[in-house]
Amino acid sequence: MTTTEILFFILTGIAFFSGAMVVMSRNPVYSVLYLITMFFAIAGHYILLNAQFLAVVHIIVYAGAIMVLFLFVIMMLNLNKDTEPHNPPWVKIAAVIAGGMMMATLVGALKETATPLTKTNYDTTIGTVERLGNVLFSDFLIPFELSSALFLAAMVGAVMLSKKNIH
């Protein structure tokens, strides 16, 4: 077993365990913290796949911006273990059965379908800023500009929605 395989299994274990804990934790603050652990494990996967730029952006966007948003809202609304609403047991059992069946179907269906090409010449430099920048600013220039309009709309929308009195 090589180092890469060991790292893959460790990161997979962390990602799956923290993903399960996001669902299971009774306190929403713990859910956020486990979610951040999962984000870091996925960033580790990106580094293993030689997508360094995406790994850094992932950490900045998710562990930086989104975690702060979630934690800020949870603490502002003063949500904790006591205020957490719970489904009745039969809904939880039904949810586990439905979710587990969906998981089993996805894994079973996708496991066999992929026909990986056995290649020998992998290009390991595709994750660098240079290569991604070239693609982003040539083939994807218009979507890139449109995403700035999306962010502006999201920003205006968030401010408008959270304003107290709009006349």
Binding site: L79, M103, I126
Partner: protein, 105 residues
């Protein structure tokens, strides 16, 4: 050297399917709307991981640019979603989705 040369693509597909299934399970399992938003983030991450794995496998940077756009949309979605939740909380004093059925009545 990249991990895709050693680790079979099927393992990444299985991991992504498991994480996506966990996200679906969370959406069905929880009633707190904020935790449901987190589970949606988990599903988006599973898809991103699969895109990066395929991108590495095909040595094609286009998929990684797609992941970049998915992250942008996810950030916008979280900002607007949490703003809506705060507006709802101001009116109903709860983030329990079972109370948000005024349209039905």
């Amino acid at each position: 050297m990249s991990a895709i040369e050693i680790i079979p693509l099927q393992w990444y597909i299985t991991l992504s399917a498991l994480l996506f299934g966990l996200g679906v399970l969370g959406v069905l399992f929880r009633r707190n709307a904020i935790v449901i938003l987190m589970c949606i983030e988990m599903m988006l991450n599973a898809v991103n991981l699969l895109l990066v794995a395929f991108s590495a496998h095909h040595s094609d940077p286009h998929a990684q640019v797609f992941v970049f756009f998915v992250m942008a949309v996810a950030a916008a979605e979280v900002a607007v979603g949490l703003a809506i939740l705060i507006a709802i909380y101001r009116n109903t004093r709860t983030t329990d989705i079972d109370f948000l059925n005024q349209l039905k009545h």
